[in-house]
Symmetry: none
Subunit: 201 residues, 4 copies
Amino acid sequence: MSSASIHKHTAILDAAYELFGSGGFYETKMSEVAERAGIAKGTVYLYFKNKEDLFMAVTRRDCEGFLQQLEVKLQACGSLAEKLSVIAAHHLFYYYERKQHTKLFFRAPNNNPELVAYMALFMEEYMQAVVKVLLEGGASEPELMAQSYIGMLDRLKMDILFDPSFTEEEAHKRKKFAAGLFIRGAVGSMNASPGDLPAGP
Amino acid sequence: MSSASIHKHTAILDAAYELFGSGGFYETKMSEVAERAGIAKGTVYLYFKNKEDLFMAVTRRDCEGFLQQLEVKLQACGSLAEKLSVIAAHHLFYYYERKQHTKLFFRAPNNNPELVAYMALFMEEYMQAVVKVLLEGGASEPELMAQSYIGMLDRLKMDILFDPSFTEEEAHKRKKFAAGLFIRGAVGSMNASPGDLPAGP
Amino acid sequence: MSSASIHKHTAILDAAYELFGSGGFYETKMSEVAERAGIAKGTVYLYFKNKEDLFMAVTRRDCEGFLQQLEVKLQACGSLAEKLSVIAAHHLFYYYERKQHTKLFFRAPNNNPELVAYMALFMEEYMQAVVKVLLEGGASEPELMAQSYIGMLDRLKMDILFDPSFTEEEAHKRKKFAAGLFIRGAVGSMNASPGDLPAGP
Amino acid sequence: MSSASIHKHTAILDAAYELFGSGGFYETKMSEVAERAGIAKGTVYLYFKNKEDLFMAVTRRDCEGFLQQLEVKLQACGSLAEKLSVIAAHHLFYYYERKQHTKLFFRAPNNNPELVAYMALFMEEYMQAVVKVLLEGGASEPELMAQSYIGMLDRLKMDILFDPSFTEEEAHKRKKFAAGLFIRGAVGSMNASPGDLPAGP
DNA sequence: CATGAATGAGTATTCATTCAT
DNA sequence: CATGAATGAATACTCATTCAT
């Protein structure tokens, strides 16, 4: 690919990211993507097989960025607690910075096995990254624990995505809360008398 | 509404539940719903304003059932730990029994504000049910804790929905795991030396 | 089918016959057919599966008419010579009357196996009708003779289709010529000395 | 044109002959022609104005070959009967050898007046070649007779094109049949009592 | 209440052709 | 002469919804 080609390829991905992200798959027209990318309709098809292929490419680029950035951040810190905190911060702030592009995940094409497979792969890789951290901490059942932590974070991010008044400060608070709850559990987070909660298995 | 009307109303909802559930919103045709319900196409519109309205009604009936059953189960048990376990079991087994109807949630109409609002309302009510349980346990930040618990459960249910070989036994194991992790946190669930984990805030 | 339906079905076939006939398959738009038939675009698809199906139906109606009319005319006459003359007249005048619709045959869809199969069937039936006449006359190799006669007529009709100044009188002349040539051969039609031509096998 | 140019010109025609012949006009892509000819897409347009022009050139080359070969064969033989037999053999075997390229004739572009005009010219020249033979035999109405003979042969060739199991021997049989029928007519070819057929005009 | 025939808006994709290099 | 990246016109078909009966 020549540098002009790469530039065009990127321009299409950028345009598609904006439009798919804010309007969803079904409401985005290929002609709009071309127009926003500053090229002709047919040219889009020189770079991407079809609309679903383009959506896949946008999704893939976004997910890969998510995982790579996470990897970099994790390498820069030491203790388990610190790492769990970094994961929470990454998850919450990644979406905080992408508030405007929620449709990329919630309005995806309905029947694309390739996309479904890729999302499963992404989840697996994300989970394994968390699993690795937990294993270093000596966790048993690290996969279930990773799933749980990610699920927790994913739900906590929802308000960030849909509440326009959500502040960065509030996001920080949630990050600390999530890591704390995950590490110490409800018992450690409650001001209830411990007698209300079972102490062990 | 006459009893004949009620019967037809229910027949349409049942037909739509099956079809939306297994094929998703976009792939289900109103004519198919009518056919499966044993009535004429036009008749569907005497009972539901349009396709999205019908989807809403199906979703609402399903979600209300979810919440009502949860309420009943919660009233039948006492301690906080027991209640959390009931919530986990309800969440996981509700979907376990509905494996065949996943599309109802994952292939919803893309741009219906009413549906989005209803799902938000459902989440709010679900969360409040969990909040109520946590408040009885004396939790601080009960909303964030409820969100976290639900998020945890929601992620843990994914394999149940998509892994055809998932057993009921395995679902039980996850239920226990979720409640345990939530209550005692990673520290309590790990066989690592506690020194690796911060003991408190 | 109600009488209104039959009327609409016929209206579509008539409109399609005109447009396919004068513009060919590829140049005729379904929207034009609908417009000319005085109905909505979608309605065409209630009566015909798709564009090719409609083309098939038009072709079939035309070919069936050709064969039925031929049958009727043949029943009304006696001797072999008379019947051959009737066949020639039918072939030439059928197209004489359809001068304006030549595209129905020359601009058909290129890749429709069903259409190809139907045209083969039509040719077979037409040939068998001629074969039957020839067998009554005691012909050996009746199929080859039928093919030859039809081929002869088909070529002689070409000028009729494409020469706008072609007269009905001229068509009559060709009819007589064809029957005469077929029956008596070039020897009988030539004023050459018979010695130039072989008298027999 | 340099020899390199001539070579490229020929390579394009050869590639186009193969592709148009086996796939038809509409199904053949200019990019495929270029690829098969071993040159770039744009280069085709240095040698041929457009796709239809290329199709014309392919058709013209094929038709000219047909007429030239016929001319050569006719010069090598003497009597009228012999010449008619040569014409029949040429017509039938020319297509026998081109079984694989039927689409060149049956899937031509639908709306090209130039092609229509050329095919008319080809037919005229072919007919004149036959007319010349017939005139030497002293025929009256030589044009109608030529048209008839050609039509006869054209129909008899159809099975050759479409019946894969057609043998060369069978083609020879048809050649003899056609010449015989044309010369002596049905009367001479039938084993019926001549009384069934009119003896003269 | 019930029917089902009729409507018509809406869009991805291909491929012949061009022209800057 | 040769290239191949870029262009953009052109069109069938579906299906939710309506409304006359």
